[in-house]
Amino acid sequence: MENLIALLIAAPLLGAAVLLVGGRRLDAVGHWIGTFLSAASFVFGLILFADLLGKDAEHRTLTQHLWTWISVGGFQADVTFRLDQLSMTFVLLITGVGSLIHLYSVGYMEHDERRRRFFGYLNLFLAAMLLLVLADNYLLLYVGWEGVGLASYLLIGFWQHKPSAATAAKKAFLVNRVGDMGLSIAIMLMFTTFGSFAFGPVLSHTGDTSEGKLTAIGLMLLLAACGKSAQVPLQSWLGDAMEGPTPVSALIHAATMVTAGVYLIVRSGAIFNAAPDAQLAVTVVGAVTLLFGAIVGCAKDDIKKALAGSTMSQIGYMVLAAGLGPIGYVFAIMHLVTHGFFKAGLFLGAGSVMHGMNDEVDMRKYGGLRKYMPVTFITFGLGYLAIIGFPGLSGFFSKDKIIEAAFAKGGTEGWILGGAALLGAAITAFYMTRVMLMTFFGEERWRDRPTRSPEEPSAEPAAAHQGGAASGHAAAATGEPHPHESPKIMTIPMVVLAVGSVFGGAFFSLGDRFLHWLEPVTGHSEGDSPLSAATVTGATMVCLVVGVAIAWAQYGRKPVPALAPRGSLLTRAARRDLYQDDFNHVVLVRGGEHLTRSLVYVDHTLVDGVVNGTAAGFGGLSGRLRRLQNGFVRSYAVSMFGGAALLVAATLLMRAV
């Protein structure tokens, strides 16, 4: 059975290789190859899952050793896979949701001439993510980790002819690389501390070393997680990543990529458990990010960017939970899975809306779409209810647990973290209701108006639509949109995900199924909560109602202005991602430009200048010496006599002394 593990990765990897190397002759069937291999991986996952379920809880770890990768001195890295409950959960999420997104993309990318390549990249993404969660040591995990970064680079920049897409892709990769630096330093620290970086030896020997070392490792792992999971301060790439096709956003936000950071922290639980300072840092990052993302999400008019803010915020919840230690690990993963369902559903829904609206993303130009896109409306609506934590739906169970766990941390920290989580819940309710109202309710603001706003002229409609989903509707691109429901191949995945969003949480929570499943890997402990579970649930409900009510008051009762009002200071700040990008631009980009430019100058004038100066000095000296050679025999004779006279004088002088 162990041998199936490699097949999990091999299937999508084969797909990527075939599709990318195969060339044009696969154009006609490429997308089906990609979808089939992704689904095949899911089937392998199910088989392995059934196998794991057949064993008792303590023996649900399969390992497969393939070959020795690097072996130098004491440095030993193997290509070994490890499948336990934690990685199994991820495998099913990645391949399951991933396959649905593949299916959806068949329809969404139908008119894109580079669809084959798109599927190749999607398969690469899955393969890298599977490698990440199946690796048995940190170095192999690192391969998947950067592989995910590469795949996201390729997919975010898929429409490369758009400079903004190319820039966004580069930014995503670079910010991730900063995080990767943390991971490499963490691996090096592990090697010097434990002499190994395989999960087994590292995680079982945390007691043998100092807390300082573990804190350092933990902080470096946190840096890595911040990069991949778009946590403050490395969150800036996520908003720009919306430049990619919408299925990519769904994949990045729901099944792969951003979940990797949470996986890393939960997987390294033993290290964090032994390093309370690092844990505290994790919770702080999580809490800050969940508020940061939520605030940003409130101000965005771009439907995808609003959802991106929401992802950031939800991942913040997971990181917060993961930072709480054994109280929170299980709930972090549970929220991750339910979030996988509803966020994928929401993004696919958003893609479906854009598909029907000529790729318009500005929610101020939507409105009243529920009549035209009933399936999208219902699935999106269920996802919406799930994410705000409507009682009985997925998000309710998982988020509620996290808030409880935050309070259970105890002490002042517990109150602050719990409060932040509660506040986050209220804001989540607000911005998601806002998205819902602006998109599907209210007046139809897209009538009598070209879809593109005047300050954002479509500079190259041909180019923008060549790759865009709506190229089939290019004729209507500049006129009034004709909203319509998306084809079956796109709605079916949305329906499946909506079902997951509705029932997933309840299914996991009944009888603590999920808890029992994951506990052997992550461990679990009940915290000592100052508040009862019922109180927390009640408070969460109050927050939810308040959030929805404010949104209703602002966007439901009053018509939504088609042009964004100036807004308060906070709104304006949030629209600009709380000035994080401006900060980056001024400090890093500008500063970096000045640094490199002055270094180029220094290299040319100083380093090279010293050498060239020496050469010029010798040149000048020889130019002067050359004048002595004037060609007159007599002057040579004079110098000869002079020289002879000097010699004689010197000899006499030596004699005298």
């Binding site: 050679q629 007159f632 025999v633 006599f641």
Partner: protein
């Protein structure tokens, strides 16, 4: 007679020769002055030989004469060919080898 006087004479001849080399332009004259300097040296060598009572100086004087003879052969040939090409025996005209 004091052999030192021969040395004075040699020095005088050498100086005359050197001055001639330095200030005259005619290649023949320069050449003759060089010969004068060589012979001044010869005179000094012979005088030394006498003063020290051994034959080393005289041997060297013979060497010098042989070298001088060879030099005359080559030098005169050069001067003649120079005169043929440039129609002048001035050493200043032959300054083409400078950079």
């Amino acid at each position: 007679m004091n052999p030192v006087n021969y040395l004075y004479l040699a020095a005088l001849l050498f100086t005359i020769g050197a001055t001639g080399v330095l200030i005259r332009r005619n290649a023949i004259v320069v050449f003759m002055c060089i010969e004068l300097m060589l012979n001044a040296c010869n005179l000094a060598f012979v005088a030394f030989s006498r003063m020290h009572g051994n034959l080393d100086g005289q041997i060297i004087a013979f060497f010098t004469m042989v070298v001088a003879a060879a030099e005359v052969v080559v030098g005169l040939a050069i001067i003649v060919s120079l005169f043929r090409t440039r129609h002048s025996a001035s050493v200043d005209d032959a300054s083409l080898m400078k950079l």
